[in-house]
Amino acid sequence: MAKKLAAADKGRLVEKFSQAASTTSGRVHVVPSRDGWSVKKEGAKRATSVLPTKADAVRTATNLKSVDRVIVHRKDGTIQKNTSTRK
């Protein structure tokens, strides 16, 4: 059974989640979806595009303007790959 976080740790982590959700970054997410591979800029409500293959989606994501990192997700949402696009 997991142990409840101490109040100080909890407060610090809640703040990290809060900041993470409101910070605009140069990340773009490649997500497997029912209709293909979605390419979504962080914070956007909708996908920029949906591609038939992961390779196509990663290529599209990498070529988007002002993208620093491409995050490729597995079918369960976890992270498969986290790549910098800076040359």
Binding site: S33, E42, K45, H73, G77
Partner: protein, 208 residues
């Protein structure tokens, strides 16, 4: 009963954890309050706490997808159908307004339940196919039908969940916790992190 509270009865193990996280995230994203028992008490004390959560929640989600033998020729896990039965007992007991309780039964495959618990036929059964995106769709669509209010499409929730998952893995790993371990932190902590994240995400990022 609180019409925003949803009692969750499901397996608590690392195999089911991705599906459970999607379920929690979906409920929070559509402004509902997941209720999970995390007591380590045994016997009667634990059952009383579960009963109290059920009594307080208008909605319940019972996941029966793991009612199968733990090993070849072994016995299945009976906790989920047992708790589901308690909730049905509450609904059918004729007291207070419990007859208004609404249940969504989740399964991996559409009609598998008929082989071991056919008495629940006629209730709302959803099949998540052990697929996290499908879990979001089944849960979102069921609440859309029941609440009859505007609700984000399942794909918006799925894409937001993936973004949350990136932050979840980064933040927990950075703090020395294993994000894939269901026992790393409590469900109430996870729910608080999700609630804070979703609130900020909707306002600051997605402009919802």
């Amino acid at each position: 009963m609180d019409s925003t509270k949803v009692f969750i009865n499901c397996p608590f193990d690392n195999d089911f954890f991705p599906l459970l996280k999607c379920l929690l995230f979906t409920l929070i994203y559509i402004d509902l309050k997941p209720q999970i028992s995390e007591t380590s008490d045994s016997g009667e004390a634990r059952l009383h706490k579960i009963r109290d959560l059920m009594k307080d929640s208008l909605y319940s989600i019972h996941d029966l997808s793991r009612v199968k033998p733990l090993k070849p020729r072994g016995l299945p896990r009976f906790n989920m159908p047992f708790e589901c039965g308690i909730d049905f007992g509450l609904k059918l007991c004729g007291k207070d307004d419990f007859h208004e309780k609404k249940f969504l039964i989740l399964e991996a495959e559409r009609f598998r339940y008929q082989k071991f618990i056919s008495d629940i036929a006629g209730n709302d059964i959803g099949a998540h196919r052990n697929d996290p995106e499908q879990m979001i769709k089944v849960v979102r669509d069921w609440f859309k039908r029941n609440l009859k209010i505007e609700m984000p499409w399942h794909k918006e929730i799925w894409l937001a969940y993936n973004e949350f998952e990136y932050n979840y893995e980064s933040i927990l790993t950075g703090d020395g916790y294993d994000p894939k371990d269901i026992e790393a932190i409590t469900f109430s902590d996870i729910i608080d992190f999700m609630r804070e994240w979703v609130e900020k995400y909707k306002v600051d990022k997605a402009g919802i």
